[in-house]
Point group: C2
Chain length 221, copies 2
């Protein structure tokens, strides 16, 4: 039984102290003038713990933490007016952030080709992406390799212009001044591959509609 | 269909903006000199969103948010050396924070009678406490009315002297310098009332052992 350095009693994944500290220092430099070192360090540790809680695959935990913290800090900065908010921000929320919201985010990024910025989250994040979802997106040429389930946090809701929920009902705080939509879609975890393809195609239809309406709104301004 | 004030599109629970703002102001005064208003406000909104995500019963969400934020801010302050840390801090972690870790926390608070401070959390918090757990603790005169499932956050791990995990394996970051224990206990959600009583009695035995060992350690110093 191997005991992790410095921790008494329980074997397990040693806490990657040096890497997280390095990440905190890097991000403190990146966000200098917007956030203090203490805030950045808190965000790094909180985000790491939040992902560690549910992730089964741990090999990319550090890369995922880096991405998650960056998204969250950028969101806080945007909501506070301290970072650019030039593109419409869309947030997709489902229960597990393993199927529907991940497909919607990847499809939107693909179809919008730089005209919007997209985030996704789950009310009860799963331990990994649904393999079938990765498969059916690969079939239409959309990669999902770097995607990972993550919990819904306040910061990304605050930064969103449009929040789309899918089967997680009222797990998302409703802030004034945002556009909220609820898309009714079957849960991919209950479907066979053809069923997941249908959900993918439904999502493509929804996303095209959403992008067209944002386009109209933008050109009307 | 009623639309919440200011939010377009989706009906649901309106965001209690005024109450959360009031809570932020109160806590900013309480923690003056330790945390800035911005940090406190972030903690309030994050904690509210985290509880909203999984809670089904919403009637106590504000009281629970108040308690959760206070616990978290105190934990950060303790870990940073800015708040008193006179008593041993014990953290119980299970998967749902609905059964085992809630029983352990309540039993410890009861038996320790002020000699330790206790927190509990879950890697995947449930939407409510197991009713059977509330019942079997009431039988031995321990109330659980105000308890609620909450996610494991980095701050409470940092502040802990002893972390006890129960069936959530490696979902908890292992920090150096802490004592870690893992208690093997059956999951109350799979048991009848007599089974839950057995788990309760097992936990009482474990807690008595833990408190005795902390006592010995303290008197040895």
């Amino acid at each position: 039984m191997s005991i992790p350095t410095g921790a008494q009693g329980l074997p397990g994944l040693a806490y990657p102290e040096a890497s997280l500290k390095r990440l905190s220092i890097e991000l403190t430099e990146k966000y200098a003038g917007t956030f203090g070192a203490e805030t950045v360090h808190r965000y790094v540790l909180e985000s790491y713990t939040a992902l560690l809680r549910t992730a089964k695959v741990r090999s990319h935990l550090l890369a995922q933490t880096t991405h998650f913290v960056n998204e969250r800090l950028t969101a806080v900065a945007q909501a506070a007016g301290a970072a650019a908010h030039d593109l419409p921000e869309i947030l997709y929320v489902c229960e597990q952030n393993a199927g529907r919201s991940q497909m919607a985010a990847a499809i939107t990024t693909h179809l919008a080709a730089g005209r919007v910025h997209v985030r996704s989250a789950g009310s009860v994040p799963a331990d990994r992406l649904h393999p079938a979802v990765v498969t059916v997106l690969a079939e239409v040429g959309i990669p999902l390799e770097d995607a990972y389930p993550k919990p819904l946090t306040d910061d990304v809701v605050q930064a969103a212009d449009v929040v789309v929920t899918m089967g997680c009902g009222d797990a998302c705080p409703l802030y004034p001044g945002k556009r909220y939509e609820d898309w009714s879609l079957a849960d991919p975890s209950t479907l066979d591959l053809d069923g997941v393809r249908s959900v993918r195609d439904e999502i493509i239809g929804h996303v095209e509609g959403l992008l067209a309406s944002l386009e109209r709104r933008h050109s009307a301004v």
